[in-house]
Amino acid sequence: MSLLADKTQGPVLVGAHTDSGAAFVPDQSRAERKRSYAVADFTVPNGREEDWRFTPVDRLRPLFEVGPDDRDGVTVTADTPDGVTVSHGTPGSVGLGVGIPADRASAVAWESASVMTSLAVAPGAAPAEPAVLRVTGHDKARLNGHLAISAGAHSRSVVVVAHAGSVRCGANVEIDVEDGAELTLVSVQEWDDDSLHVAQHDARIGRDASLRHIVVTLGGAIVRISTNVLYSGTGGSFEGLGVYFADAGQHLEHRLFVDHEPPNCRSDVAYKGALQGDGAHTVWVGDVLIRASAGGTNTYELNRNLVLTDGARADSVPNLEIETGQIEGAGHASATGRFDDEQLFYLQARGIPEDTARRLVVRGFFASIVQRIGVPEIVERIMAAIDRELGATPQTEADG
């Protein structure tokens, strides 16, 4: 069995590929889900809500109540090439005007944030180097993040946001990709094992603009990143790439909502995850809405999960809602499978020891996504981080 096969074969499908209609229909359309700046508009989740049903909400309590930043516990540093500026100010009532909280944690972070960090790429700028923001927490410091990224018209840039350390972090990230701009945004989560991180990313993609949004989640006790994308003009393009690797006890959750309203835009989402160890849990939810006005839309979303050991659970839920037939293409694929023993046999039959063979296969599984990032230093960094994860790969029953 190939892990890249379109249909899942093989033994495991843990709660994967649930069509929304069969499970629970909270609204007539994904578009009707509540949005508000006011914390009071969202009750504290109890885990039965459609958008919280996979999440261990009890462990996220601190992020559901308004509270001050622990300013001494978090450091933020920035490397900015020419053409990129970083400034710190107050969020104001609407921030950058792109995002609106869609759940309790996001509203809490919005209201609690005392500082908005703005990263702006000048119109027409094409910096040779990536801009890098490093966020590092200490001793479970509370951080109410508000990051506003704007890529000026016809600019071309790469922005990396690297997270590490120990935090309780709720965050909103607003991303404005103005007309004709090309932005690659990489968010890397290499938190310590005790960190909680719930973030909402809202992206607005201008006319003929493109956003490559890359999420790499390797560390943290609970990480939940919800990404919402809309287009403000025709010809916009969104490429959403993600890789995640959950070890024992980790909960890593990625949610995407791509809202196609103007015609002739495209979106392409591909997330791949590996899981190993008892209680490792990953969730991927990919919602795509093609509104009646969005003729000529081309969209595809894919999620693959590789379960390396028993006791891990991968949930994968793609949803496609189409209100017009006048589209170029729309599809989704989801598959969750165990490690392919035939691949292992083939590599071992060439003398390659089992642990090396496993590493090759898992690296290969991720490589197809990571290579698409196309920025060599980032590709190397991510593959090195994955190698570190694989260093801890436990041996399985195959040895016995």
Binding site: S2, L3, L4, D340, D341, E342, Q343, F345, Y346, L347, Q348, A349, R350, G351, I352, P353, E354, T356, A357, L360, V361, R363, G364, F365, F366, A367, S368, A398
Partner: protein, 251 residues
């Protein structure tokens, strides 16, 4: 000089209602420099023999022994067998997404030799072997077996045999699914390895046509999980004329 000695080999596979015996007492000795053809009808257990020797977990050895230069092959893991000098060219090579041919070959060579190959000579060796097999250089940057045609897969198997230099190589229906040109290229590759090393070959095939290009020293007819008849190359000619019918007719 190396010797692969198979003695009284019985192998079963697990099926839905218990286990099914496929090999029922195989005795065979392959020495360096010798070419043995194993021929037989579908379902006679030829491929089971190949995969059992390589150590595929699906096949369970219930009795008998296999040694390579006196070492117990059956006690070795799959990768240990390969490092001891056994090579299996597979009938259905497996796709390994995201792993390039060049990375795979270098990793395998490093594992077999116990040290990484010297970069300059290695690159030259790979290029030369690929050119001999009429493989495009960009082949090295493709993912292992992913999207390969049938002929490309088989050439890639022989490429590995050329580069890894095994003591004993088992070619499992390497000829199946190849057109005449591809069969000739692949056979030339096998003959090159024979000419430049003292590899012992175990050539498993359903058809006699590959034996027009690779001359066997011994031909064994495999029926119902054991060797039913043995002879020289003339036995292959007789099979070509008569087929396997006389072995299948109950006595």
């Amino acid at each position: 000089m190396s010797t692969l000695e198979i003695s009284g080999l019985h192998v079963s596979v697990e099926v839905e209602d218990g286990s099914k015996e496929i090999l029922r007492g195989v005795d065979l000795t392959v020495r360096s420099g010798e070419t043995h053809a194993i021929m037989g009808p579908n379902g006679s257990g030829k491929s089971t023999l190949a995969y059992s020797l390589a150590g595929h977990p699906r096949y369970r050895v219930t009795s008998g022994s296999v040694t390579l230069d006196g070492e117990d092959v059956l006690a070795m893991s799959v990768d240990e067998r390969a490092r001891a000098g056994l090579f299996l060219a597979m009938q259905y090579p497996v796709e390994v997404p995201g792993v390039t041919v060049s990375n795979f070959l270098r990793t395998a060579k490093t594992a077999i030799d116990g040290q990484s190959p010297k970069l300059r000579t290695w690159v030259k060796d790979v290029k030369g072997a690929m050119a001999n097999l009429r493989m495009d250089p960009e082949f090295a940057e493709r993912n292992v077996n992913e999207g390969f045609s049938g002929g490309e897969k088989k050439r890639h198997e022989i490429l590995q045999m050329e580069l890894l230099r095994p003591k004993i190589a088992i070619l499992d229906e390497t000829d199946s699914g190849l057109d005449v040109d591809a069969l000739r290229i692949v056979s030339e590759g096998v003959n090159r390895v024979k000419a430049t090393s003292d590899v012992g070959l175990l050539l498993i095939t359903h058809y006699t046509r590959i034996l027009r290009y690779i001359t066997p020293d011994f031909v064994h007819v495999f029926v119902d999980g054991r060797i039913a008849e043995e002879g020289g190359p003339e036995l292959a000619d007789r099979l070509e004329d008569e087929g396997y019918d006389r072995f299948l007719t109950p006595a």
